[in-house]
């Protein structure tokens, strides 16, 4: 079985993400499955960043602490990252360029910069050379990498130089170093697979769902959604606009949605905070909208480039007044794709805001997936067709119905006029202040929450059904929960996973049922207060779950989580 962890460490500006992602993709094209995560600091140059790739010949769902191969592109990486080297693991660095001495036998010297300058004329291509070295050490060959570099590196000249740089690294490794590392990974042929971040997947979901307008204000770790959609807009008939701030971003999107197109916005917690008043406006006006919150550690600016799951209760309760909403917290790229499609459908069908709750781990990590079927996604809408609209004897945008869902039309769709107002209003959308109308309309809106609740089905149960230990989580912990449960089970203490993608309306009955038979319930969250655990307490009969929490900015790693789970912790 192949299960190899490769870490590239260096400073901002050294192109870790660029070469790391290419390397990951080369492995995927070569038949393997990959998960790659980034750990960066909030700066443009310098600092200590890493890009870590785990390569397997089977599904890979989470990251481990241990590293087999370290590529240290700066001194700090050698200082910081060596501790994670597994027995038998090795590190590569350019001793001359980094001005490091020492005779640690685990550290192999490779003249990356010299080769970079020789092949491309630029020192910075040392990173590209290093990928060649890695491929050489693994005996993977450079075929896939060369093609990726040739296609992805701008001008033909630039590309050619970099292809040579890859080869130079590879040849060096084969010649001088290969004997030092005994984990060959030969390229195989396998099914065609995608390597993408969950943010990419969200974009694909949006496009597949027919999103036509996206406005956002840049904010890590959500910015890549805006970037992706801006770059593809022309092809997919989607307009993006970088707004002046998040309030504008969501209000542009609201306007577009009221105008009749599917629309979305994306941000992180701080930007979401600025959108809260408008969330409430979506509630009263019943304009559908998808909002992505890529969480990062707070409060406030917090740790802009790190990960956390601390916006759950905030997002569920955000907004003055009472109105239904959907909150979906996908666990990986595939769930992100599907949850985004579902978010558009739920938003449209129930005329509510739907929040996709991501985080930095999901946003910046690369997942291996079977290709998505973008043409085959379900489509649900509450928008009237033109004939339906024309057939109505009397069009009332906010007609009171049993389901709470009213017939939606857009301005200019037919001869019927559409009025939307942020006040309490009557069925025609005109301001109303009398108690009876108020109660009727508020009840009508809240009734939609019931329909929505019936649709909150995405709760995964993974692992031995009879395991007495249930690990509960939401969002990005999916993979690590599954791997840790596997480790526990393998160690003779069977554990299963109950993972919520759909978190609000809280799927109480489903969770209750999933927890049946479990003696020990452990809620695992990337936050400090156990927010999901709070929901479990409030909405199920399980009142005192054990909480395993982490709020240091990093995702859980498999070994660490398994170790913490194995320990019998004092309940808090």
């Amino acid at each position: 079985m192949i299960d190899l962890s490769i870490k590239i460490g260096g400073a901002a500006g050294q192109g870790l993400q660029t070469v790391g992602a290419l390397l990951g993709k080369a492995f995927v094209r070569g038949g393997y499955q990959v998960l790659a995560v980034q750990d960066t600091m909030s700066r443009i140059r310098g600092g200590h960043n890493t890009f870590q790739i785990r390569v397997k010949d089977g599904p890979v769902r989470a990251m481990c602490r241990g590293v087999d191969l370290l590529v240290a592109l700066d001194r700090e990486s050698l200082e910081v990252d060596m501790k994670d080297l597994k027995p038998g693991g090795i590190a590569i660095c350019d001793r001359a360029a980094l001005k490091v001495e020492g005779n640690d036998p685990r550290v192999l010297d490779a003249p990356l910069e010299k080769l970079a300058v020789a092949e491309t004329g630029k020192k910075v291509a040392a990173n590209v050379v290093s990928t060649g070295v890695v491929l050489g050490l693994l005996d993977f060959g450079t075929q896939h990498m060369e093609k990726l570099v040739a296609d992805g590196f701008g001008t033909p000249e630039l590309a050619q130089g970099n292809v040579r740089a890859v080869r130079a690294g590879h040849d060096l490794a084969r010649k001088d170093l290969a004997s030092r590392f005994a984990h060959p990974i030969r390229p195989a042929t396998g099914p065609r697979r995608m390597l993408l971040t969950a943010n990419d997947a969200i974009c694909l979901g949006a496009i597949a769902a027919g999103c036509r307008f996206m406005s956002a204000y840049p904010m890590s770790p959500s910015t890549s959604i805006l970037t992706y959609l801006a770059g593809s807009g022309d092809r997919v008939g989607l307009v993006t606009e970088q707004a002046e701030d998040e309030i504008a971003a969501i209000n542009l999107a609201l306007g577009a949605s009221m105008g009749g197109v599917r629309a979305m916005t994306a941000t992180s917690g701080g930007g979401f905070a600025l959108m809260v008043e408008t969330l409430s406006m979506l509630g009263v006006s019943e304009v559908p909208l998808v909002i992505v919150d890529c969480q990062r550690p707070g409060p406030a600016t917090g740790l802009p480039t790190k990960t956390e799951q601390a916006d759950l209760m905030f997002v569920i309760h955000a907004g003055h007044g009472e109105f239904p909403r959907a909150v979906l917290a996908p666990g990986d790229a595939r769930q992100a794709f599907e949850a985004t499609v579902r978010a558009f459908n739920l938003a449209d069908r129930y005329q509510v805001p739907a929040v996709v709750l991501g985080d930095q781990f999901l946003a910046d990590s690369y997942f291996t997936c079977e290709p998505f079927d973008l043409s085959g996604v379900p489509f649900e809408t509450s928008l009237l067709s033109e004939p339906e609209l024309a057939a109505l004897p009397d069009y009332r945008r906010y007609a009171v119905t049993d389901s709470g869902v009213s017939p939606r039309a857009f301005p200019g769709q037919g001869d019927r006029l559409v009025m939307t107002d942020s006040h309490e209003h009557d069925e025609h959308g005109h301001i109303a202040e009398d108690p009876a109308t108020r109660t009727r309309m508020n009840d009508k809106r809240l009734r939609k929450g019931r329909g929505l609740a019936a649709r909150m089905g995405e709760v995964s149960e993974i692992g031995p059904r009879d395991a007495r230990t249930a690990l509960v989580g939401f969002g990005s912990t999916l993979g690590v929960l599954v791997e840790a449960a596997g480790a526990l089970t393998a160690a003779g203490r069977p554990a299963r996973v109950v993972h919520l993608c759909d978190v609000w309306p809280f799927p109480a009955a489903t969770v209750e049922a999933a927890l049946r038979g479990a003696d020990e319930i452990v809620v695992v969250e990337n936050n400090a207060t156990g927010q999901l655990a709070g929901l479990v307490c409030a909405h199920t009969s399980r009142r005192d779950p054990r909480r395993v929490l982490k709020h240091d900015g990093g995702p859980f790693l498999v070994e660490d989580l398994a170790a913490r789970l194995a320990k019998t912790e004092v309940r808090s």
Binding site: L196, R212, L254, G255, M258, G259, L374, F410, P411
Partner: protein
């Protein structure tokens, strides 16, 4: 609805004598003059007395949050640029809560018409100073009188590269209706600041106060509506004489013209994507 023009309400919740009635009538005249159908018109507003206007016009309406009208209008226009979109916004709505959107809407130059109901006070919330209040204006929240300089929508619009910058007065409805018409016809973002006396909350800047000060700038000799600096100098005029009319006008491609996707027609009418297009996106990630 199109035959007799666009209907306006006979009952409103405005105070008798409010300047807003003049705006309502002038707008109806402008829309009628252009022969626009109600179904193709969208009025967008925020919150305030001004912002109630869409409720009194038989057209489509989006009355959003306080201050956010321009962002909503921009989104709605980009979704469906076949619509004629007008924004009704109070001076507080537009320049206090919504000040940032105003700046950036002007820069963006989407084809919207922004009508600022300039009563130099917060009407709906009962008489606090607006950013447009004159220094010294005494209210219960500004008991020493306003300290900050008067926000000037016209100088700001000029500074933010506005392409159509005008001022009207509810005391001259015909002139105002002509301005609104020109603004709608202008391809790009047009700003009309309308002097709109608030009879209930502003006892300084009254109808008479404005009446005796306004003059039509187009009558002034040597005014070139294409000279931004000259327009700025005019826009600074505020005292014994207050210019009304079009202060500045420039032809520049509007935002919609420059977004390739929109050349295929209004977004809301564009066809579903072909499977090949979608498949290609997946391919790129494999």
């Amino acid at each position: 609805m199109s035959g007799d023009g666009i209907g306006i309400a006979s009952h409103t919740s405005w105070c008798p004598g409010c300047g807003n009635f003049g705006i309502l009538r002038a707008e109806k005249a402008a829309l009628d003059g252009l022969g626009l159908k109600a179904r193709d018109v969208l009025l967008v507003s925020g919150i305030g007395q001004a912002a109630k206007t869409p409720h009194y016009v038989a057209a489509n309406g989006l009355c959003g949050l306080h201050g956010r009208a321009l962002a909503n209008a921009t989104g709605a226009k980009l979704a469906n640029h076949a619509l004629t979109v007008l924004v009704h916004t109070g001076d507080g709505d537009c320049l206090a809560e919504g000040g940032n959107h105003f700046l950036h809407a002007v820069r963006r130059n989407v084809d919207l018409t922004c009508i600022i109901h300039m009563n130099q006070v917060y009407g709906l919330t009962q008489g606090q100073a607006a950013p447009t209040s004159d220094p010294g204006f005494v209210t219960r929240t500004q008991p020493h009188g306003v300290i900050s300089a008067r926000a000037n929508a016209l100088t700001l619009a000029l500074a933010a590269s506005g392409t159509f910058v005008a001022r009207g007065f509810t005391g001259n409805e015909e002139h105002l209706s002509g301005l609104i018409r020109k603004a709608i016809e202008h391809r790009g973002f047009s700003v009309i600041e309308v002097l709109q006396p608030c009879v209930s909350m502003n006892h300084v800047n009254t109808f008479a106060w404005y009446k005796e000060r306004v003059y039509d700038v187009t009558a002034a000799p040597g005014t070139d509506p294409a000279d931004r600096s000259a327009a700025f100098a005019k826009a600074l005029e505020w005292g014994d004489r207050i210019p009304i009319g079009v202060l500045y006008r420039e032809e520049r491609p509007c935002f919609e013209d420059l977004v390739p996707v929109l050349r295929g027609g209004p977004l809301v009418r564009q066809p579903a994507l072909q499977p090949e297009v979608l498949e290609a996106l997946v391919d790129e990630l494999c």
